[in-house]
Symmetry: D2
Subunit: 284 residues, 4 copies
């Protein structure tokens, strides 16, 4: 509204736009989360509540920004060929990171009712453009492989620290040159952990996406659907979760599927083709 | 740590850096704050608590990022010739916006103990480079002129709505073609408001900066200073605040200076040279 | 090699890279070519030598930069998913424009032996990224449609000026609201020009690309090929050129196909699928 | 003019603008000039005609683009706070490089009347932003120091090759660990070259700039000036050129000052303050 001789400084702004007709990712990472999780007593190797809070924040973002087709992980958001805000990079990036941060703090008490936040937690973000379907799938595969490798390592590390009672430094040293099979063997023989039965949320991370929209519905179907939505049905996307061993003392949580009406949270493999064939509309 | 054949996707990142040896601003704006302030019953035309919460969030950011030399307003941050994170734009931008957002939600209860946040508030941000001292001063002048023009308008608008009891639409219509002198006259003659005595926080916005560091101190000076810091002295940077009329019913708040140990919050004019002569070290 | 306290200024460079795994175009345009063609007596509406010189310059660029898969038109270059110079934008852009410019001046005498260049001609350029195959095909279609529309207009315009003997201003006025069919009719009825028989180089522009590489050759085939190359065979990619009417006095040139050993120059339609099916390896 | 369904591809362009109110440099470098100078028989260590041709090309650029305040060296252009083409980076960059290239080829015969260009020479370029006066002066100092260091090395190198008759490889080896004083001593004792008397064009490079415009003139002054201009006076900016030893057989050229009416070409020191005090209007 206002007008003054100083207004010329507005012309110094140099807005960038995300390239047209390309997939892009808003990658969000916690800042100093090593300290944060320590000072807020997160469970090791995995804190179910902490992960669920991250997923809750991701869900907030997906609810507000309908152009996001998939979110993965602890901390990543993926967006579709959108025209949101004219694809202005800074706007999309900061809005997404801000909403994620805001939701994290806002919902903290729901997930950690007994732990007080000691300071405002912070996230950073960046936008990465992936022009082809293969690029975006490879990005997601990279993240899920990363999740697996880190989780296998961390499970060993904390099993050694908690149950063999060695120091963190000793555990680091011990695992330095170990390969996957060494770690699997260690978990099984010494700690009675079958890694393939570790809860999928920890092994695979969490994938959030919108279920396929049915094209046409009769009136009765419509109301049935509303009923279902009102009841917050759990869509069982983890049929083999009976295989999971959730009683091992390394995980203090009771492991449950949390699913919300029109955004699915699951722990499926997104590296293999199966997920993308079942959900071909996502990249369509 | 992890390694896989998908890792090549990392090479798609295209980090930008903020131009060397230049001032830059991280400008932060609330998203949909018209609705937000309405649904959280902010006072009109000015909500002292709301402004103080914004200042608290700005203070959080300035405490964490020592390279920021000045913050102004409701929502702006200004940074010095910094080497922070190699001047990576996205990192600086998202960290700042995230920390501002996080602090806003974190400190909400301190400023609005009786109002519950109904949803996670969101901010966006952008980085603007101002190469010369004149540029950055003109930017700050632009914002402070803007603050004045908006506040004069809003004070008239809400006086009309609250005390003359006309609709918002009628008030908009009535003020459409008015100039500054018309608005001053209206406030004075009909509502007994001398605009020049409106609290400076509303007329001038808030400036945050670090007081000059004294170079050398005797031991006794040092302890005196610590005493002072411990007592959280109010540094009276608004000598003429006695002139402020803080009893008018249009402002429900009790107006007080809030000042914190090593970051000053004041409401000085930053358009004229005086501020910059007194604080020449800021742009030095 | 050199080293001094001033060398820090090198750190102010901010090289951009062209997004990975994406097509991109280097679009080259003549600067002030309206004046240039006038002062160098180019034929109107089309100067065959002028077009051939542009094509010669494009050919120079394609010879030097083997990652270019296709060039079109008067002035455009298209590049493949290349790793040339680490995809540094400024390097790719300026090298291409410089080589095009240099070749234009260098080969001037070959195409205009009797006209002296009066000053150094100049070109500008820009890089545009087209992530998908559809994008790049649509870009090429856009240019070829543009060529057609401009050529139809210019043919009418100069026929009016040259043969009806009206002023350029009158011709502009007369064509202002005409549609395609009006222009075709005008050419045919008044000037005896069947537009569909106008030389294809003028109607379609010129496409440069590399013919498919045969995978394996016998020794005799290899030598046969060398023979052929030495003789600069004309590859007849314009089978219907017999349909062209090249005798009309509006074109002063003798129209010939120029084709060079391993880069084809032709005037095919690149809007329809046929070209892309015949040459599917180009976008493969 | 033209219009089609394909025109949407124009929206993929992402023009950047050079930051407002900042100095910037268009740095131009020859591509593969080691080979080019060899195949065109350039004199070693310095080819006066080659340098003069570069300066002629730089002069062309400065004549066309009046916002350039200074050009230095073999190959660099520096531009003022300009509004040229809305500061569009790609346009400014490619126009400048193209005009430089074009002028280089166009004026080749003037400087090398007996040597035929064997292929189109090519240059690349980049834009670098220098926000402060100190930055731009340090950039120029960097280049002039670089010129000195390279020239001292090359003078030794070619003296060894030409007069001591050793191979290029041996010369490289011999100079590997030498410092400045070693090289000065070598030149003086063995080759009778006092380096401080080497022609300034080789030691200092060439600076091009516009002389200060006098504000007001009487009519007679005006005509005097025109007279002078018509005669292409040599402005003697190298008062100490009498000190130069231009007879040594290592330089085959006759060394002369070339100066053109309203653009000065000189070989002054631009590292010290003197030049900038004498010509304070350049950065004003």
């Amino acid at each position: 509204m206002a007008c003054s001789k100083y207004e010329y400084v507005k012309s110094y702004e140099q807005p960038n736009r995300v390239l047209n007709n390309s997939w892009f990712v808003v990658r969000i990472d916690g800042c100093s989360f090593h300290e944060f999780t320590k000072s807020h007593n997160y469970d090791k190797p995995n804190d179910k509540n902490g992960l669920d809070l991250m997923n809750r924040a991701a869900e907030s973002v997906m609810r507000k920004i309908s152009d996001i087709i998939i979110a993965y992980g602890q901390s990543d958001e993926y967006r579709r060929k959108t025209n949101l805000w004219g694809r202005k990079s800074e706007k999309i990036l900061t809005y997404t990171v801000s909403l994620f941060t805001s939701s994290f703090v806002y919902y903290w008490d729901n997930f950690f009712p007994k732990i007080r936040l000691t300071h405002p937690p912070t996230f950073d973000g960046r936008i990465i453009i992936y022009p082809t379907d293969k690029d975006i799938r490879d990005y997601l595969s990279w993240r899920q492989v990363d999740c697996h490798i880190n989780n296998l390592y961390n499970t060993c590390f904390w099993a050694l620290v908690k149950f063999r009672n060695i120091s963190e430094k000793e555990a680091t040293e011990l695992l330095k040159h170990s390969v996957s099979s060494d770690k699997n063997e260690l978990l099984f023989s010494e700690f009675n952990i079958n890694y393939s039965k570790v809860p999928k949320q920890f092994r695979k991370g969490t994938v959030l996406y919108r279920p396929r929209q049915k094209a046409k519905k009769t009136r009765s179907e419509y109301f049935n659907m509303r009923d279902i939505r009102d009841k917050e049905v759990v869509i069982d996307d983890t049929k083999d979760s009976s295989d999971e061993d959730i009683t091992h003392p390394i995980w203090r949580c009771k492991y449950e599927e949390i699913t919300i009406n029109n955004i699915l949270k699951c722990h499926q493999d997104i590296i293999q083709d199966a997920f993308w064939i079942d959900n071909e509309y996502l990249l369509a």
